[in-house]
């Protein structure tokens, strides 16, 4: 029977206290903080981060499909899931798909993965969900929203969390929406959305799944469900008939409403604490609702070294600067930098390099054993060995999962950056090999020669409609 085999999550390093946003707009208060993806992150890069966390003990080549759920996909035409799958080093023979446009897209992706595994057409499916929705400046959404991601690996061997059943409702009740050419999420009057939508439809789905499985609210160790904010979230718990201690913290005060990713992030947080035999209820919301019942098995013990939600909550830095948030989201027109215009990103070059550059492959020389990268303007693929000069005698060698130490660095104030200075580094990898990368999620003061770093998939720039992804390094914080 299909179930969850592994889980992972990702929360951006930067957290913006809501009081900082309030202060910028001359408002009182502001409760908690919200996670803010850096300018070099988006749902694709965050999905890769959560996926890497999830696949710590799995061979990426054993996965048959990647389902990516988001309402803020960087591309409208280009399969976002395949960018994620390529970075994660999945095979070419995979059935990737984007699940989009709806806050419950992640639970739909999860159920689709379960169905495919149960049907036997796919053995192993990675579901990722990430979102970074934008609320218009000074509005409530701006404060309520947060950025984050989660990933679940579905399979039918060594299942840690079984799926006992589910119930789905689709209802074209619209309390929030965004048209194809709009930047900010719109809302109808809150009372309508609550009375006819959020307080009714998820409760109906939850009740129906309980009825179907002959369960009652007291059968659940934890209940994980979407909520637009903390107050409305606890109202829904009461509506389903749950006691406060059964309700998994929805992360709204400390991460924010991460949209489509929120249900899976709350679920991952619950699984981090779960023990064998626990029954968990997951309820999503968005033009309908999916209610899913899980049962935790003994295998849950084997999933323990994830950063998940818990560790990611600890790896944080306060962003005490609202202007920086505006800049990172491109919400203020900036003085144009006096630098030469970029030539268009070459699709031919991207394609030629994608199987080496996107999963960050170098090579290992078969003759002298030297692991090596090649990083030039036009190629990531070495042809002649750095050390012994033999030609084309290599085996693939991946650097994305290797830790490294900073051999040299500088803080460049002249380079184009949305978070100056631009920290340039040279990294020596454990096990050999070197590369030069930008360093992200760093405090300039903490940088030193010899510091430990890990690799992270990021957006290098956006230009002429192309999101140009590659890898950066970041300080190792555990």
């Amino acid at each position: 029977m299909a179930g969850i085999v592994s889980y992972g999550a990702y929360i951006p390093y930067y957290r913006l206290p809501r009081s900082v946003i309030s202060k910028a707009w001359g408002r009182p208060g502001g409760r908690g903080e919200r996670a803010v993806a850096r300018y070099d992150e988006d749902p694709v890069s965050m999905s890769v981060a959560a996926g890497m966390d999830c696949l710590r003990e799995s061979d990426p080549k054993s996965i048959d499909a990647l389902f990516m759920a988001t309402t803020t996909a960087p591309y409208k035409e280009r399969l976002n899931a395949t960018i994620v799958a390529t970075a994660l080093d999945l095979r070419r023979e995979v059935r990737n798909a984007d699940f989009a446009n709806c806050l419950k897209a992640s639970t739909t992706a999860l159920l689709s993965a379960v169905d495919a595994v149960d049907a036997g057409s796919l053995k192993s499916v990675l579901v990722t969900s990430a979102d970074m929705r934008l609320g218009a400046a000074s509005g409530e959404n701006e404060q309520a929203f947060g950025d984050g991601a989660a990933a679940l690996l579905l399979g039918n061997e060594k299942v840690a969390v079984e799926i006992e059943g589910s119930y789905t409702l689709c209802d074209d009740l619209v309390d929030s929406w965004r048209a194809h050419d709009e930047t900010f999420v719109r809302n109808w009057e809150e009372r309508f959305g609550l009375d006819e939508g959020y307080r009714r439809i998820p409760v109906e789905a939850a009740n129906e799944v309980m009825k179907k499985l002959d369960l009652s609210p007291k059968d659940f160790a934890k209940a994980c469900f979407y909520g637009p904010n903390t107050r409305r979230h606890s109202e829904l718990g009461r509506g389903i008939g749950l006691e406060p201690e059964q309700i998994q913290d929805p992360l709204l005060d400390i991460v924010g409403n991460t949209g489509a990713a929120l249900p899976l992030m709350i679920l991952v947080a619950a699984l981090e604490e779960a023990k064998a035999g626990d029954r968990i209820l997951l309820v999503s919301w968005g033009n309908g609702s999916d209610a899913i019942v899980f049962r935790v098995t003994d295998q849950i013990k084997s999933i323990r070294n994830r950063r998940g939600i818990k560790r990611h909550l600890e790896i944080r830095r306060e962003l005490d600067n609202y202007e920086k948030y505006l800049r990172w989201r491109g919400l203020v027109p900036l003085e144009a930098a006096a630098r030469p215009a970029k030539n268009p990103t070459s699709m031919a070059s991207l394609w030629r390099e994608h199987s080496s550059a996107m999963p960050l492959y170098g090579v290992k020389c078969k003759k002298c054993g030297t692991p090596q990268m090649y990083l030039s303007f036009s190629s990531t693929r070495p042809r002649v060995c750095l050390k012994c000069h033999v030609r084309d005698e290599f085996e693939p060698y991946r650097f994305a999962d290797k830790k490294g130490k900073v051999a040299s660095f500088s803080h460049d104030y002249l380079a184009l950056s949305q978070d100056p200075p631009n920290t340039l580094t040279v990294v020596d990898f454990e096990g050999g090999g070197r590369g030069s990368f930008e360093m992200t999620d760093r405090d300039p003061e903490e940088c030193q020669v010899g510091m430990d770093v890990e690799m992270t998939f990021r957006k290098i720039f956006f230009d002429k409609g192309v999101h140009n992804y590659f890898w950066k390094c970041k300080p190792l914080r555990d």
Partner: protein, 394 residues
């Protein structure tokens, strides 16, 4: 076995424009200005030039960039491009043509018009289609890493390191103040240098050379012909170009505290010129001080200072104008800026004037051999030129 250029060619005339933000001058104006100074200095007419080599990275693309403004009609002209070693490589190729006996009088000229781009820094177009791997990084960012690692490896505190590289710039500004052709002609106090805004930590504003327009030219012939033209001609002792494997960013053997291609080019140049103890035998040098840390490290790479110990020589004033081995007597890139194609020949121009005893207030006492050095690229991968010129008898 490679042969040697030593004393096989002579420089009989040179020209150099005023460097700076030459809003008044196009590349055409700059070429005419330096070339005609060189023609006049050599006592020849443009029609005497049999072949020419033009060095420019972005101010033109063919030999016609030179033939058109100078009306050097129907002679062979080659445009040379080799990053910051462009001017020097034009000079080198011109020398080889004379040494080969193919031509008797040739022109090597470099030019760059950088200030028409509307932006500071090297504002040329980016090479190739922007690629997934092109990280946002500037020249200061790359060279700053040399400083970070040098300070770390040799145990220099930030203050010690900053003072060391600051003094490099302080010295060059002092020399530039004596040079009417320099872009910057003012001394700069140490305090100003040390407290300047960061460009790429740990390099501040005064650790970086300027960007300017300029041109420089040399007339090259055989020593035999030179003797009949003037008494104070100079001869070429060594010409070396070294292409780095460009692997410092992914070869962990590279230590980021030196530039290996400078070491290799210098070794070859000393061998070619018959020099065994450069610190004692070289009278003066113009090196590629694109950044102050580059000059500091280059002193070690050229064998002027012991490895890891350049701080002492810099602070002791060894490379000052009145020191044991003056470096950047004309003010260097620091004061001239760096019109890329012109810089290498501008350096040779200063050596030429010094060897002739015509360097005015900057005159070094009895120089015999002068070394020039260019670094095109960044520490992890660069084209290096090391050349030596001197008195015919040296």
């Amino acid at each position: 076995m490679p042969g040697s250029i030593k004393d096989r060619v002579a420089v009989v005339g040179m020209g150099c424009t005023k460097f700076g933000e030459r809003w008044d001058a196009s590349a055409v104006d700059l070429l005419v200005e330096s070339a005609y100074e060189a023609f006049e200095d050599a006592g020849i007419e443009p029609e005497d030039i049999q072949a020419a080599w033009l060095g420019t990275t972005s101010s033109g693309s063919t030999g016609m960039t030179l033939s058109e403004p100078l009306r050097l009609n129907y002679i062979p002209i080659t445009r040379v491009e080799n990053a910051c070693a462009t001017g020097s490589d034009a000079f080198r190729n011109a020398c080889y043509a004379v040494a080969a006996g193919i031509y008797e009088i040739v022109l090597a000229i470099g030019v760059e018009k950088l200030k028409d781009t509307g932006m500071s820094g090297l504002g040329g177009a980016q090479p190739n289609p922007s690629h997934v791997l092109t990280p946002e990084g500037t020249a200061p960012g790359r060279f700053a890493m040399l400083a970070t690692t040098y300070f770390d490896r040799y145990g220099l505190s930030f203050e010690e390191g900053k003072h060391m590289i600051g003094r490099v710039s302080w010295k060059s500004h002092k020399n530039g103040a004596l040079n009417s052709k320099a872009h910057f002609q003012r001394e700069v106090p140490m305090e100003t240098i040390l407290n300047a805004p960061m460009i790429a930590w740990p390099l501040g504003l005064y650790d970086c050379c300027g960007v300017s327009d300029g041109s420089a030219a040399a007339i090259i012939t055989t020593p035999e012909i030179a003797k009949g033209m003037r008494k104070d001609y100079i001869t070429v002792k060594a010409l070396q170009i070294c292409a780095h494997p460009n692997d410092g960013n992914y070869n962990s053997d590279y230590d980021w505290t030196h530039v290996e291609s400078t070491v290799r080019a210098a070794e070859a140049a000393y061998k070619e010129a018959g020099i065994t103890n450069p610190r004692e035998e070289i009278s003066m040098a113009e090196v590629h001080d694109c950044f102050s840390i580059t000059e500091a490290v280059t002193m070690e790479d050229l064998g002027f200072s012991e490895r890891g110990k350049v701080l002492r020589d810099i602070e002791d004033g060894v490379f000052d104008l009145d020191g044991k081995l003056p470096v950047q007597p004309d003010g260097g890139l620091k004061c001239f800026g760096h019109p890329i194609g012109a810089s290498g020949i501008r350096m040779i121009y200063e050596m030429y004037k010094q060897l002739q005893g015509k360097a005015g207030p900057r005159q070094i006492k009895n120089p015999k051999l002068g070394l020039t050095h260019n670094l095109g690229g960044s520490p992890d991968g660069c084209m290096i030129y090391v050349g030596i010129v001197g008195l015919p008898e040296a």
